[in-house]
């Protein structure tokens, strides 16, 4: 359980998803404790490691999903099927090609990205093959407005935090100045206010700039959802 944070390898993810699909093939609904036959597994490499780290339990010739294993498998299956949906519906790829492409980048999707895709596609219930896509948080809350993962700073609201994704300018002098102020890729920032000028806190620096510059700074907002009414600011009389 302590190792929960080490990311799974592609083989391990594939192994988990295979177990999931074998459970589905038995016409069972995958859940914690559901099991699949061990002997037909194509992806055997990761199994030992997964068992050791508490994702799986091997009982005889059955392999059983633990709670962590179930959550991970579910997440991965969801990413996989959403990716297929995206590629076939939005990009109009042939099913086979969609599947191949999806295989390549489903490993890179994180939960946030998957959620964005899910919202974009209107919370699809099934993958192109007709299999069930495990619903995510966004499906439950019924979110319909999509917020991209990386937005210009001008899209953030006062009081929000995030990390700088990149600076979208080719002006070297500005880039150098911003990075010397600490505004550079990967740095955590907090947007203090937007009017009359943008004010940003990064490390110990407070930096102010105009909207033009704010549009060039692309950030990954920390919270997925927009804070409804000012979160985190100790101080807010008619802030925004």
């Amino acid at each position: 359980m302590e190792n929960k944070k080490t990311p799974l390898t592609e083989e391990q993810e594939e192994a988990l998803s295979e177990i999931w699909m074998r459970i589905e093939n038995r016409a069972e609904v995958p859940q914690v404790g559901a099991s699949a036959p061990l002997k037909k597994m194509r992806h055997r490499e990761g199994l030992d490691e997964l068992t050791r780290e508490g994702y799986l339990m091997v009982e005889g010739d059955e392999v059983r999903l633990t709670e962590t294993g179930f959550t991970e498998a579910r997440r991965f299956i969801r990413n996989q099927r959403l990716s297929e949906r995206l590629l076939s519906d939005v990009l109009n790829l042939e099913m086979e090609e969609a599947e191949r492409t999806a295989c390549r980048y489903e490993h890179m999707l994180d939960t946030d990205a998957a959620e964005s895709i899910c919202i974009l596609l209107g919370h699809p219930r099934n993958c192109p093959h007709g299999k069930l896509i495990p619903p995510g948080e966004c499906c439950v809350s019924g979110e319909t407005s999509l917020r991209p993962l990386v937005v210009p700073l001008s899209e953030l609201e006062a009081g929000e935090t995030g990390t700088v994704a990149y600076i979208g300018t080719t002006d070297n002098a500005r880039l150098a100045y911003l990075s010397s102020l600490g505004v550079m890729t990967g740095r955590p920032i907090e947007l203090i206010q937007k009017k009359p000028s943008y004010t940003l806190k990064v490390d110990e620096n407070t930096v102010a700039f105009d909207e033009f510059v704010a549009r060039e700074i692309f950030v990954r907002p920390s919270q997925r959802k927009r804070p409804s009414t000012g979160t985190g600011r100790k101080f807010r009389w008619g802030w925004r």
Binding site: I167, T169, T170, D171, N172, A173, R174, L175, A176, Y177, L178, S179, S180, L181, G182, M184, T185, I192, Q193, K195, P196, S197, T199, D203, E204, N205, T206, V207, A208, F209, D210, F212, V213, K234, F235, W237, G238, W239
Partner: protein, 660 residues
């Protein structure tokens, strides 16, 4: 090499000097305070970036060095004239040591400058200043580890309290060449190598320069290598553009990210942070948010302006001037002096000193009784304000307004400084990035920003005319600046530049710094002003004696009487106005005081005087900074515009039958 920056050398005492010590660092971190400590020279110190726009130097008191103070640089890639000056100074000499003054609570930022400075190959010392603020924010810096990683001495100081001075002196005495060396990957390294070979051997620190050129905009090659032949510049530009084409992202980003990665590694080893935040910091932080708030911020601004008016306008221009003029001068000082001098038998000589246009009765009295108390009061208020760190917040508040006239928030600093002294302010326009901005700012300063002396006279006079007049006056002058600025922005090619500024933390001003700054500014001002006051008085005197004044007044009267409906005598105020606007304004004040002008006339004449060409010292600076062509154009435009605007104002006020 590009031209050597003009150095102001002081000292004069013969001593053996082993080399130069160049102070380099980001803006507003106390380089000038360190400079004062090292050399014993007084320099103006404030809490906003861009106080130092010229290179200053002086012999160190306890070291064998000439110490050179440079304008602060935001990053190693320069953005404005003052930053280029700093780079040139770093590049100018082989035999030099560098003292980097950095912000202790902002180690990341400081080190982002240390790494490129280490590339100069010169002995380097890192002084982490404002160690007290770092401590308050909970930072603990391991200077030993830092020093080992960089291979240079690292010291902590609190310059304003002279803490850490001995350690600093010690570190400077044993300089060492930095051992840290960053490699930027094969493609950048290859390009840097090619540029190093292309640069003439006479250049010091070629690798340092090569990396700056690579990380800079294409125009930087022309700026930094101004005196090189075009062949060299072309070769270097070719190398840069070829290298750039191999990368998807701008080269500066590639270089900066390498440095940032190094800095991260060093910081991980040498910096820890305690979490709790003391109350004092937090309340100052709240003030920080409130003072740039779209609503509260403007209220605070209004409050500050009101305070300024009460202090400078009502208190200084009213009570203090009355006291100085009536009690001190007319009551105590003048009568005995006049009595003594009235024994001079020759009438003209006597009048030269104590006549209507007498050096003492007019020149000195104006300068010392009217201008001195007002200027001193203004600089007390101004020094206090700038030491708190409020001015950059003002830039945040006014950025959008300034955008209307083709400037951005950065221009707030020269403009506000212009309320102190237009000559200083015109020098400070160097912190603006483009030539276009510098011209517009110089124009607006020359046109409508009254200096403190004039402002005091204006406030003094208007407090007698009535509050409504002040409001109308502000609207009128503000409108003129908007119109002229807007048109200038339309006429001059180029766009409004982007605005980025850093906001320094609020600091509680230190009384001694406020007082010494006031003393310094006031002394500077008085020394600048008195010769012109005396000269102006002398010109008037001789013009009067020879009868030339009467003819000059006749010459001016079509404008003064015909267009402005003013008494003929006001001409002499405008004639002095050519030398100094504030002296001219004081003359107007006097005429109004003696009942020669009514309220409306006083309003019109003061408005024209405010728009009138700035004092002669300022005109000289405009010529020096902007070149004679632009300067000539600016000055004649301002002169013509003042007359035109005054005529229109007078016409409209009379048409509407306004009375004060």
């Amino acid at each position: 090499m590009a031209q050597e920056p003009s150095l102001v050398l002081t000292g004069g005492r013969e001593s053996i000097v082993t080399g130069k010590l160049i102070l380099v660092g980001q803006p507003n971190i106390g380089k000038s305070v360190i400079f004062s400590i090292l050399t014993g020279r007084y320099v103006v110190v404030s809490n906003y970036p861009g106080t130092t726009v010229e290179v200053l130097s002086g012999k160190a008191l306890e070291l064998d060095y000439y110490v050179i103070d440079t304008p602060g640089i935001g990053s190693i890639v320069p953005r404005s004239e003052d930053e280029i000056v700093t780079l040139r100074t770093i590049l100018s000499d082989e035999r030099k040591s560098i003292l980097q003054v950095g912000d202790a609570k902002n180690l990341r930022r400081t080190l982002m400058l240390t790494l490129p400075l280490a590339e100069t190959g010169s002995p380097l010392v890192l002084d982490l200043n404002m160690a007290d603020e770092a401590e308050k924010s909970g930072y603990v810096i391991d200077t030993k580890t830092l020093s080992e990683n960089l291979g240079i001495p690292v010291v902590l100081t609190v310059a304003t309290e002279k803490r850490g001075k001995d350690a600093l002196l010690d570190a400077i005495r044993r300089p060492s060449r930095p051992s840290i060396r960053i490699t930027y990957g094969p493609r950048i390294e290859e390009a840097a190598g090619l540029i190093v070979n292309a640069l003439p051997r006479s250049f010091a620190s070629r690798r340092f320069l090569a990396l700056i050129l690579l990380a800079g905009n294409p125009g930087l090659v022309d700026d930094l290598l101004k005196d090189q032949d075009d062949g060299v510049k072309r070769i270097i530009k070719d190398i840069i553009s070829k290298t750039q084409s191999q990368f998807g992202e701008p080269l500066s980003q590639v270089v900066m990210e390498k440095r940032a990665a190094h800095v991260d590694r060093i910081i991980k080893k040498s910096l820890t942070k305690r979490e709790e935040q003391p109350f004092a910091t937090r309340s100052l932080q709240t003030l920080e948010y409130v003072s740039t708030h779209p609503v509260w911020g403007f209220l605070i601004l209004a409050l500050i302006l009101f305070g300024l008016y009460e202090f400078v306008g009502v208190f200084a221009a009213g009570y203090l001037v009355d006291f100085f003029e009536d009690v001190l001068f007319k009551g105590l000082i003048l009568p005995p002096v006049i009595q003594v001098l009235s024994h001079i038998p020759e009438e003209h000589v006597r009048n030269f000193f104590i006549g209507e246009y007498g050096q003492i009765t007019m020149g000195l009295t104006y300068a010392l009784a009217i201008v001195f108390p007002i200027v001193a009061a203004f600089f007390v208020a101004f020094s206090f304000l700038e030491d708190t760190g409020y001015l950059p917040r003002l830039a945040v508040m006014l950025n959008k307004t300034f955008a209307l006239v083709g400037l951005n928030g950065r221009a707030v600093i020269p403009v506000v400084l212009g309320l102190g002294c237009g000559t200083m302010a015109t020098l400070v326009t160097r912190i603006l990035e483009t030539r276009r901005e510098r011209i517009i700012a110089t124009l607006l300063l020359a046109l409508g920003i009254p200096c403190s002396a004039q402002l005091g006279v204006i406030l003094g006079m208007f407090s007698k005319i009535g509050g409504g007049a002040i409001f109308l006056f502000l609207c009128f002058i503000g409108l003129q600046m908007l119109i002229v600025g807007y048109l200038a922005a339309k006429v001059l090619p180029g766009g409004t530049p982007f605005f980025i500024t850093e906001l320094p933390p609020y600091r509680i001003p230190r009384l001694e710094n406020v007082l010494s700054k006031t003393y310094f500014h006031t002394k500077w001002f008085i020394r600048e002003a008195i010769p012109y006051f005396l000269l102006g008085t002398a010109v008037l005197f001789f013009a009067d004696v020879t009868g030339f004044l009467a003819r000059l007044i006749d010459l001016f009267s079509p404008v003064v009487v015909g267009l402005f409906d003013l008494p003929k005598k006001t001409s002499q105020a405008f004639i002095i106005g050519f030398l100094r606007r504030d002296y001219g304004a004081a003359g107007l004040f006097d005429l109004f005081d003696r009942g020669i002008m009514d309220g409306l006339q006083a309003f019109v004449s003061m408005s024209v005087m405010t728009l009138f060409i700035p004092c002669i010292a300022n005109v000289f600076i405009i010529f020096k900074e902007r070149g004679y062509r632009v300067a000539l154009l600016l000055v004649s435009f301002v002169f013509a515009y003042a007359i035109m605007a005054g005529t229109v104002l007078n016409y409209i006020l009379r048409l509407l039958n306004v009375h004060f």
